[in-house]
């Protein structure tokens, strides 16, 4: 019995121990560690060429950089966005795939079906329209409490897909093809075969989103979100305009989902309603919960795992959804807070207040 406990503590301390060491470094050491990490991430497509590491990371049966972009980057973006809604503000959204679809469809409409705009111009328009959809859906529904919100958002996701499927203007079930690709920039050419430029672009999007979300999280807005998640009534009585901040969470989440859709549409060049099934919403949610709902880095980890593991471990690819279903149940039983649980407070404040013993995450 104590053996099991000991083992478990060791496994979990692998994560937290690393964090402690990291926090103990001085400013310059930390910045250079960050820098190295970023470079290593941009070099990810070349990892399979590294002798031993390559053996471990490479995906059998599919091209590594395609997996990185089409699966991992998309899932990470989406997990980041959904984490704002579900993890930080505590609003259960089961129709997140809807915003992803809106982003992709707006890009498709503007650059191919009903317009001839360049991708780069479609990007901001699609993100803004996704956010608008967030407002349109959020305004009537965010007054509802948890469970009702879940079912209504689920319905919303389905409405989007069915509308796309049944309207000729949206390409019906044929979908929309010839979506424009991102323009060449910084010496990168966005073609059909090479996925690497898309990955660099997507990774850059991820960094921008992290930057924005980090600023939001450690501000008045982030505090309001967490307060709403913890106790909505108390938050409102402490002067938090709960409706406004819930709507912001929803809108920002929608915008990030839309961004992922834009990136996806630009890469594949062809979309149809079957790319956006309801089950995808559940995989997205699985990513956030698995990694650690409420912790941005947890959500990223979850996104990576959900997207990458099935590609790496091909021997269960047909059982992929089954495995996620079971893992979700097991996760809730064994570790409801996810692999990287949310932290209370933020790290640089903790270092300053070292005088007292911390008893966080007990």
């Amino acid at each position: 019995m104590s053996l099991v406990l000991n083992f478990w503590l060791r496994v979990t301390s692998l994560f937290s121990g690393f964090g402690e060491q990291f926090r103990a470094m001085n400013k310059w050491q930390r910045y250079s560690a960050y820098g190295l990490g970023v470079v290593a991430l941009y070099l990810l497509p070349y990892w399979p060429d590294v002798p031993v590491l390559g053996q471990i990371v490479n995906t059998p049966g599919s091209q590594f950089e395609t997996v990185l972009n089409d699966q991992v980057v998309i899932f990470v973006l989406i997990a980041l966005g959904l984490n704002v809604v579900v993890g930080i503000a505590g609003l259960l959204d089961l129709g997140y795939v809807g915003f992803y679809a809106v982003g992709a469809y707006v890009t498709a409409i503007l650059t191919s079906a009903h317009g001839n705009l360049p991708w780069l111009l479609a990007l901001p328009i699609a993100v803004v329209i996704s956010m608008l959809f967030g407002v349109i859906l959020g305004t009537p529904t965010l007054r509802l409490r948890g469970d009702y919100l879940a079912i209504v958002t689920l319905g919303f996701g389905e409405i989007i897909r069915l509308t796309a499927k049944n309207m000729d203007w949206l390409g019906a079930s044929r979908g929309i093809s010839n979506i424009k690709k991102p323009p060449s920039m910084f010496g990168l050419k966005f073609g059909v075969l090479d996925a690497k430029p898309y990955f660099y672009l997507g990774l850059t999007m991820v960094f921008i989103v992290i930057f924005i979300l980090h600023r939001l999280e450690y501000s008045r807005v982030g505090r309001a979100w967490v307060a709403i998640r913890e106790d909505e009534d108390a938050a409102e009585l402490m002067g938090v305009n709960t409706f406004k901040f819930k709507l912001w969470a929803f809108t920002i989440g929608a915008g990030i989902g839309g961004l992922a859709g834009v990136h996806y549409a630009g890469k594949v060049g062809f979309i149809n309603p079957d790319n956006f099934p309801l089950q995808l919403s559940i995989l997205f949610l699985a990513a956030v919960v698995l990694g650690g709902s409420g912790n941005m880095y947890g959500a990223i980890l979850g996104g990576i795992l959900v997207a990458y593991m099935p590609e790496r471990l091909r021997n269960f690819s047909d059982k992929r959804i089954l495995v996620f279903g079971i893992v979700l149940v097991l996760m809730m039983v064994f570790r409801p807070e996810g692999i990287l649980p949310k932290r209370v407070g933020n790290e640089h404040k903790k270092r300053r207040a070292k005088s007292q013993e911390g008893e966080v995450a007990s």
């Binding site: 019995m1 099991v4 406990l5 478990w8 579900v86 505590g90 259960l92 009537p140 529904t141 007054r143 509802l144 409490r145 948890g146 469970d147 009702y148 879940a150 079912i151 209504v152 689920l154 319905g155 919303f156 389905e158 409405i159 069915l162 509308t163 499927k165 049944n166 009534d233 309801l278 089950q279 559940i282 949610l285 699985a286 919960v289 709902s293 593991m309 471990l313 021997n315 269960f316 047909d318 059982k319 959804i321 089954l322 495995v323 996620f324 279903g325 079971i326 893992v327 979700l328 149940v329 097991l330 996760m331 809730m332 039983v333 064994f334 409801p336």
Partner: protein
């Protein structure tokens, strides 16, 4: 379209809408019962329904050995044989769904309440071992067995000794429900005989016109569905209102803590609640196969979403609400798809839900089993 045809279509749509609505209502009861007692959306209830349809399929094609076609014709039965067969199939479907619901509760929900039992722990430990062997071990049989043997006792011990008494947050229950739902449906999709393909169920009943009303032929299978659903609902209402266990269900729905203090065995009541919901879903499943003659691993999902919509529409936690919501949804969907086209059917259902919730945030009849939330 001439006027008389519209009228005629209207009544036809009403009959088929009521039949579909009856099935929604029966499944909705399961959501409502569990929500009333645990304040939990039993997201996996849709798969309990799906399991019921497979129960009905097994009962007719395996237990009764009825083929899909006999000498090129449907295997019609008549008279007493038909009635006995139908009742038998329904009982088996109910059994499948009922057991499914109870197992689901003990594996996916009860451990989260902090009082998991040995049964749940065994299943969870086995599932853990299964995942470990699938993900980390190559497919050689002996390695899989070693992984199973090594992992099962460890996770069992962990569950029994470290997870007792810890109640998970509300969101965790819903996620667990979503996971269980996905897992059950996929398990059937992966391991059943024809996998993800559609299954035909034997058609025992000749679908003749039973009588004509307002110029519309009412087919016998629709009549059976509507009457059968009503009878089951009456039986459920009697059970909840007149029996000791039913009183327990209502007491726990009112206030679980107080009930526990007053000596109600809350865990038993929860099992009963799940079993009741499962039995209703099983009945619905059999009636479903009677009308549509088919099933599939993912058949529960959209029907479950619709039924939950029906429950919310009527006021979740409220038995009458489930009936009202189910019938209403069936009708609205049918009329709506006649006006806008069948491809918009699901959209209409969700739009109706949205509109109702905007004006009545707790559904048409309100949350009666449950208390209003502060």
């Amino acid at each position: 379209m001439p006027d008389w045809l519209i009228i005629r279509t209207f009544w036809e749509l009403t009959v088929t809408g009521l039949a579909l609505g009856s099935i929604y209502a029966l499944v909705a009861l399961g959501y409502t019962l569990v929500y009333g007692v645990l304040r939990l959306i039993n997201f996996a209830h849709s798969e309990i329904f799906m399991v019921g349809t497979f129960g009905a399929l097994l009962a007719s094609s395996q237990f009764l050995s009825i083929p899909l076609l006999e000498d090129g014709n449907y295997p019609y039965r008549t008279g007493m044989t038909l009635i006995i067969f139908l009742v038998f199939i329904m009982l088996i479907a109910m059994l499948f769904s009922g057991i499914g619901a109870v197992v689901l509760e003990r594996v996916a929900y009860r451990p989260l309440r902090g009082n998991g039992d040995a049964f749940g722990a065994v299943v969870l430990a086995f599932l853990t071992a299964f995942i470990v062997s699938l993900v980390f071990v190559d497919q050689a049989k002996i390695n899989v067995i070693i992984a199973l043997l090594a992992t099962t006792p460890i996770s069992y011990a962990y569950l029994r000794f470290f997870k007792q008494g810890r109640k998970a947050p509300r969101l965790a229950f819903l996620i667990s429900a979503i996971g269980a739902s996905t897992a059950i449906s996929e398990a059937v999709g992966v391991w059943s005989k024809h996998g993800r393909d559609q299954y035909q169920t034997p058609r025992l009943l000749e679908k003749k016109t039973l009588f004509t009303m307002f110029g519309t032929d009412v087919r016998i299978d629709y009549a059976i569905v509507i009457v059968g659903a009503l009878l089951m609902m009456i039986a459920l209402t009697l059970f909840v209102n007149k029996t000791r266990l039913g009183r327990g269900v209502r007491a726990v729905a009112q206030d679980a803590e107080t009930s526990r203090i007053l000596g109600v065995n809350v865990d038993l009541i929860i099992i009963v609640t799940f079993a009741l919901g499962g039995v209703m879903a099983g009945g619905a499943a059999m009636l479903f196969t009677l009308v549509y003659d088919q099933t599939r691993f993912n058949i529960g999902f959209i029907l479950g979403v619709k039924s939950f919509t029906a429950a919310v529409l009527g006021g979740i936690g409220n038995l009458k609400g489930a009936l009202l919501g189910g019938l209403l949804l069936g009708l609205v969907e049918n009329y709506g798809s006649a006006i806008f086209g069948g491809q918009w059917k699901d959209v209409i259902a969700f739009v109706v839900l949205l509109v109702v919730l905007m004006f009545r945030p707790t559904g048409l009849l309100g949350e009666s089993l449950g208390k209003a939330r502060v």
